[in-house]
């Protein structure tokens, strides 16, 4: 047995002559001790969930038909007729929610530990790019089901886009591929969902992680870490094991959700019947609520301003720090922003 293994190793070495040193170097990057807390692992958690999405999404594509006349029926078939279709679809659905939660929490942790500050401004901005991709991922994916709520969600979103000043008309047209949500819309949502967005996220993520490797993560020291003599642990196996443990816990949660709350299906989309309560997915609740309580143009512009604020936060933060040093104003602004977010989301959920 051992001999066989050695033979295989030798064969691999000649066929793919990558120096062992390389693997050792890549995998044993020292990781600061404070990363043992779970909220410092949220980035890794998101990466794991993204992987799940790619695999299950690929499997769903085998049976999904991106055509208005067949989309709903194909999802129905996946859910109720194709063996294990319900498992794959339910995993894809639930881990999409967990993915978005993980990304949002990751942003919170980066924010509140000030890890976006110099020299990591660029990485924060790339992170924002990822965040927008992730949200668009959710939106396009939900629309693919072509049930009443998802269809009308897409219609409302396109109508809202129309209110963007100057370019709104073009933007909405680009989104729908016409004047209403129809064939062209579904095809382009499909292509975005299964090709363009995964590609974009993969590229952005590669840069994201490369930059983390180059810059290292922000060094923090917690009080209860003092007792430890080592301030760093190797990525492999320590940190890797920790991420695997978290991943397994999440797999446990997903198993529970899939078995007890499998993905269902609403009524098929009907362009002539507007449902009484149109609601997007929960992660758009706060925007939706905000748009409802402000006028349309102000609403759309406000959303844009909030997005810009997020993207350029590292620079705004620097200005604030310069004028009011050591007052933690950024932290408080962040808390207010999150409180607003929570209130709007809960508000929309309740009505």
């Amino acid at each position: 047995m051992k001999k066989r293994l050695d033979q295989l190793k030798a064969w691999l070495k000649t066929s793919a002559p990558i120096p062992e040193e390389f693997f050792r170097k890549v995998s044993s990057e020292p990781v600061p001790h404070h990363l043992k807390r779970w909220w410092f692992c949220l980035g890794g958690t998101a990466a794991y969930l993204f992987l799940i999405q790619v695999i299950t999404g690929l499997l769903l594509t085998f049976y999904y038909v991106p055509e208005p006349g067949h989309a709903y029926d194909s999802v129905y078939r996946i859910t109720y007729e194709i063996p294990f279709g319900w498992v794959i679809r339910s995993i894809h659905k639930w881990s999409s929610h967990l993915f978005i939660i993980a990304v949002i929490l990751h942003v919170f942790r980066v924010f509140f530990t000030g890890a976006y500050r110099k020299p990591r401004e660029l990485n924060w901005m790339i992170g924002c790019g990822i965040l927008f991709c992730v949200l668009t991922f959710g939106f396009t994916g939900y629309s693919l089901i072509y049930e009443q709520l998802s269809y009308w969600g897409a219609t409302v979103a396109a109508n809202l886009t129309q209110n963007v000043p100057l370019i709104g008309e073009y933007l909405a047209r680009f989104m729908r591929g016409g004047d209403t949500v129809e064939e062209n819309t579904l095809t382009r949502f499909f292509i975005f969902h299964i090709a363009l967005l995964p590609l974009a996220i993969t590229i952005l993520l590669t840069i994201h992680i490369t930059l983390i490797r180059l810059l290292g993560v922000t060094e923090l020291r917690f009080e209860d870490d003092r007792e430890h003599s080592t301030s760093h642990v190797p990525f492999f196996p320590n940190h890797f094991l920790r991420e695997t443990i978290i991943a397994s816990c999440i797999a446990l949660v997903i198993t529970f959700l899939v078995v007890f709350f499998p993905a269902g299906l609403g009524l098929p989309a009907d362009p002539f019947v507007t449902p009484a309560h149109i609601k997007p997915e929960w992660y758009f609740y706060f925007t939706f609520r905000w748009l409802k309580i402000s006028s349309l143009t102000v609403g759309v512009l406000g959303t844009g301003a909030a997005a810009a604020l997020l993207v350029f936060w590292p620079f705004i933060d620097r200005k604030i720090e310069k004028h009011f040093p050591g007052k933690d104003i950024s932290i408080w602004l962040g808390i207010i922003a999150i409180a607003t977010l929570l209130v709007f989301t809960v508000w929309e959920a309740l009505v």
Binding site: T79, H228, I245, S248, F256, F260, P262, I335, A339, V351
Partner: protein
């Protein structure tokens, strides 16, 4: 600042934040605009404003059937709102009410026209009896979701004995209960991921055959049909048992996977511990 501290602060801050914001402050911004019928009649006196108050709590209000749905007219033009040219029909006379409501409730009014109640209203004037119309039982503005409670002694016995009404009520009541239970069961199965589309269609048809009978007030027919519906419910019950078994099978498999994962996690935690002990 410690992370847990931050989370707690966020929570408290969001509670504090939500008080001044709470719904009524911004309510007007989200309320739908009113029709001119409603806004004018609301401020009139007595009989003219009473309908608004009653209608606002009715099922018609909730389902989007406004004044103009029944009385006609133009709800957007305050000056011409009640002009006959705009289709305003005013207050219907008693003998017009069945068609007045039947405009929308087509099936119900057809069945009602087969009933003794309607037939008795069509006989000649000398024999004419006091017969009920839609609004006798459902009233005109405070109409709510219909239920068997509408068949009650104080209403029916204003005109005749409660004997036959009681038979109708009893025949319906037991079947209605079984239908309701079956529907809950189907909803449960659907939530747990079972395909119940066909079963639901069947169930809907069954419920319909029963409800079509209500307004015929035909006692033998009602007793017959409720009996056959009960039997049909029993036979489809077996299909549902299979689905329940499917769900349970899924749960067991899920439990198996969960157990495996728990063991896996425990092993990994132990492994990590040994590495960490090595390090320090």
């Amino acid at each position: 600042m410690d992370f847990v501290n931050i989370l707690c602060t966020i929570f408290v801050a969001s509670l504090w934040f939500s008080t001044p914001f709470s719904l009524h402050a911004l309510e007007p911004a989200i309320r739908e605009s009113e029709s001119t019928c409603v806004s004018c009649h609301r401020d009139l006196e007595g009989m003219l404003s009473e309908p608004v108050r009653l209608w606002e709590k009715s099922i018609h209000h909730d389902m989007g059937n406004g004044c103009e749905g029944c009385h006609g007219g133009d709800k957007n033009d305050p000056a011409e709102a009640m002009s006959p040219q705009k289709g305003f029909v005013g207050v219907p006379s008693t003998d017009k009410i069945v068609d007045f409501c039947g405009k929308c409730h087509v099936g119900v009014s057809e069945n009602f026209k087969k009933s003794v109640h309607f037939q008795a209203s069509q006989t000649n004037l000398l024999q004419k009896k006091n017969t009920p119309t839609c609004v006798t039982c459902h009233r005109s503005h405070d109409i709510h979701k219909a239920s068997l409670d509408l068949i009650n002694e104080s209403l029916c016995s204003t005109c005749h004995s409660f004997e036959n009404p009681k038979r109708i009520k009893e025949a319906f009541a037991s079947t209605e209960l079984s239908l309701e239970h079956r529907k809950e069961d189907l909803n449960y199965l659907e939530r747990r991921g079972m395909s119940v589309k066909k079963l639901k269609e069947k169930h809907f048809a069954l419920r319909n055959t029963l409800h079509q009978l209500t307004h015929t007030f035909d006692v033998p027919e009602i007793q017959n049909k409720t009996h056959s519906v009960n039997e049909a419910l029993q036979t489809t019950g077996n299909d549902l048992k299979v689905l329940h078994r499917n769900i349970h099978r899924r749960w067991w498999v899920g439990l198996g996977v969960a157990c495996f994962l728990v063991i896996f996690i425990v092993v990994l935690v132990k492994l990590l511990k040994t590495y960490e002990d090595d390090a320090s």
